[in-house]
């Protein structure tokens, strides 16, 4: 039997701290809010600055005239056409492939090795930097397949870039379609494929459209990929095999070579405004869906 005094704990003095828990809470909250305000201020400033400098440059002529004198004069219309063409080609290819992949992953396979491989591949592809995609598109489409610097090469490479986005958003959208809808169809004897095209896809459409719209935004803003696959010819492309300078590439060249600062700011404004509009539309669609499901 040991002495009882060994068992009874002596009251310990509270540990000495620079800050009590309440003070730490106040301090942490203040610091975190401060950092958050700083980050938000930077992001707001970026958009504000571009609008402040760029908006005065925007005239009807700037938007409707082709690029003249390498961008010193004229407008940006030819680059808008190139951007639209490249983006349209990219989405025309990436949408069926991406949505098809999502359908296969959600409707046709159980969680197995194939799903893991496809999902891992899509995740890795999403992380491949644009300069690597540019190198790839340059070798495969521009050189090996002989498409040259063209809107076609640019569109094909962008399709590879946006495919992961479309796969992921479509997969999420298809997964949220209630299982009962499918079961009703099957119980009526409708085969699997018509069930998917007539029932599942229409129900998942808003989510799929969100992914497509986000991909449009990424294609419009991309520079490295298009610079090395679509080239930088200032003229308006008349066929998929013509080179075309997109808005983002045009802006890059104007700014980097110091050709015309007013035109650079104007182009930047059009580029940023277009992308923000496109992305806002995407989030509006998604938010509408979330509210409907809630």
């Amino acid at each position: 039997m040991s002495a009882p005094s060994a068992i009874v704990a002596r009251p310990q003095p509270p540990p000495r701290r620079l800050l009590g828990p309440a003070d730490a809470q106040r301090l942490a909250k203040a610091v975190l809010w401060g950092l958050t305000s700083l980050a938000l201020a930077i992001l707001v400033f970026i958009i504000g600055y571009i609008a402040w400098k760029g908006l005065p440059q925007i005239t009807a002529a700037f938007l409707s005239e082709p690029v003249r004198d390498m961008g010193r004069a004229g407008g940006i219309f030819s680059t808008v056409v190139s951007t639209a063409l490249v983006t349209a080609i990219a989405l025309a290819i990436a949408t069926p492939l991406g949505v098809g992949t999502a359908i296969y992953l959600t409707e046709y396979t159980r969680e197995g090795w194939l799903v893991s491989v496809v999902r891992f591949g899509a995740e890795c592809l999403a992380g491949v930097p644009s300069i690597i995609l540019g190198l790839f598109g340059f070798v495969l489409f521009v050189l090996k397949l002989g498409f040259g610097w063209s809107v076609l090469s640019g569109g094909l490479t962008l399709a590879v870039m946006v495919m992961p986005t479309i796969i992921r958003t479509s997969e999420e959208a298809i997964k949220t379609v209630p299982h009962e809808l499918r079961e009703v169809c099957y119980s009526l004897g409708v085969p699997k494929w018509p069930t998917i095209t007539r029932v599942v896809l229409p129900a998942a459409l808003p989510g799929i459209v969100t992914g497509i719209v986000l991909s449009v935004g990424r294609s419009v803003g991309e520079t490295a990929v298009v610079l090395f696959t679509a080239g930088a010819a200032v003229g308006t492309p008349h066929s998929p095999f013509d080179s075309g300078r997109t808005l983002a590439v045009h802006f890059y060249i104007l700014a980097r070579e110091g050709i015309s600062m007013p035109n650079a700011y104007g182009t930047a404004f059009v580029l940023v405004a277009a992308i923000l509009l496109i992305n806002t539309a995407a989030y509006a669609i998604m938010y509408g869906v979330m509210r409907k499901n809630a």
């Binding site: 296969y104 496809v118 930097p129 590879v160 085969p191 490295a224 806002t280």
Partner: protein, 283 residues
């Protein structure tokens, strides 16, 4: 009925092929980057390529050590700026903000992810570079400018993935911690953040991939001098900007060396992505 069954079978096969398109693209990218880059790697020798700083591709010197160092330093600098800022935003938005604020601010942050990298680079050139030149000295186009720009560019990635990770921590964890008398900050620091650790680490890894792979913004503010940086105010050339600067006019071994540069970059990114992917699966 027979015909219908057969049709369903064909549709399933076709969709399986489509599903392989993403993996197939990744395989093609790997194949082309390797087949274009490996020969020159073999010729120059891997250690020579990676550990020499002598880059004179038209004279047969392919050393990318200085660029590797610059890329790594720029990425670490970007993380030093972007991680605290981004995590602070994520914690505030996930834990302190009201649902209405979250509903507005989270999409706003994600919208900003869409601002093209050339725009960040341009603002860096017209605003940040003169500031650095006038206040800190040096050419202005510098490692510091690259780190600052990249630090801002990775914010949306860090914020949006970390918010999701923090929101995924069960409410009961917070309630248990608050119930035993912990303050909100103690709860966040000791309970919520550790529980969300794998998600936060995923965010940081993906942001790292973003930063190391970013090209256009970096070219514009880096100055692109070919040497080892000795101070944050030195001009640097990263792996990505080296490729983009020279691809336009390179041919032969020079072009192959650019692909080999891409190969090194690609290998690093694949490792980062695989790590992020595994972490995500663990959760």
């Amino acid at each position: 009925m027979e015909a219908s069954m057969e049709r369903q079978w064909w549709i399933e096969r076709a969709l399986m092929l489509v599903a392989l398109s993403a993996v197939g693209s990744l395989a093609l990218i790997t194949l082309f980057i390797f087949s274009e880059g490996l020969p020159v790697l073999a010729k120059a020798g891997l250690s020579n390529f990676l550990l020499s700083s002598h880059w004179a591709p038209t004279k047969g010197h392919f050393g990318i050590f200085a660029m590797i160092v610059s890329s790594v330093l720029a990425t670490l600098g970007a993380l030093a700026i972007g991680v605290p800022l981004g995590l602070a935003c994520a914690v505030v938005l996930a834990e302190f903000a009201t649902p209405t604020m979250r509903l507005i601010l989270k999409p706003a942050v994600e919208l900003l992810a869409g601002i093209p990298s050339v725009v960040y680079g341009f603002l860096g050139v017209v605003l940040l570079v003169p500031l650095i030149r006038d206040w800190l000295g040096g050419p202005g186009l510098s490692l510091l400018a690259v780190a600052l720009i990249l630090g801002v560019m990775i914010l949306p990635t860090i914020i949006s993935i970390s918010i999701d990770a923090l929101r995924a921590v069960p409410r009961t964890y917070r309630e248990a911690s608050l119930a035993v008398g912990a303050t909100q900050w103690q709860t966040i620091w000791r309970v919520v953040l550790p529980a969300a650790r794998s998600g936060v680490v995923t965010a940081i890894i993906l942001a790292m991939g973003r930063a190391i792979g970013e090209t256009m913004a970096v070219i514009m503010v880096a100055g692109n001098a070919l040497r080892l940086p000795h101070s944050p105010l030195d001009s640097v050339r990263t792996l990505t900007s080296n490729i983009a600067l020279e691809l336009g006019y390179a041919s032969g071994d020079h072009r192959a060396a650019l692909f080999a540069t891409g190969l090194v970059l690609f290998a690093v990114i694949l490792v980062l992505n695989a790590a992020a992917s595994l972490l995500r699966r663990q959760r």
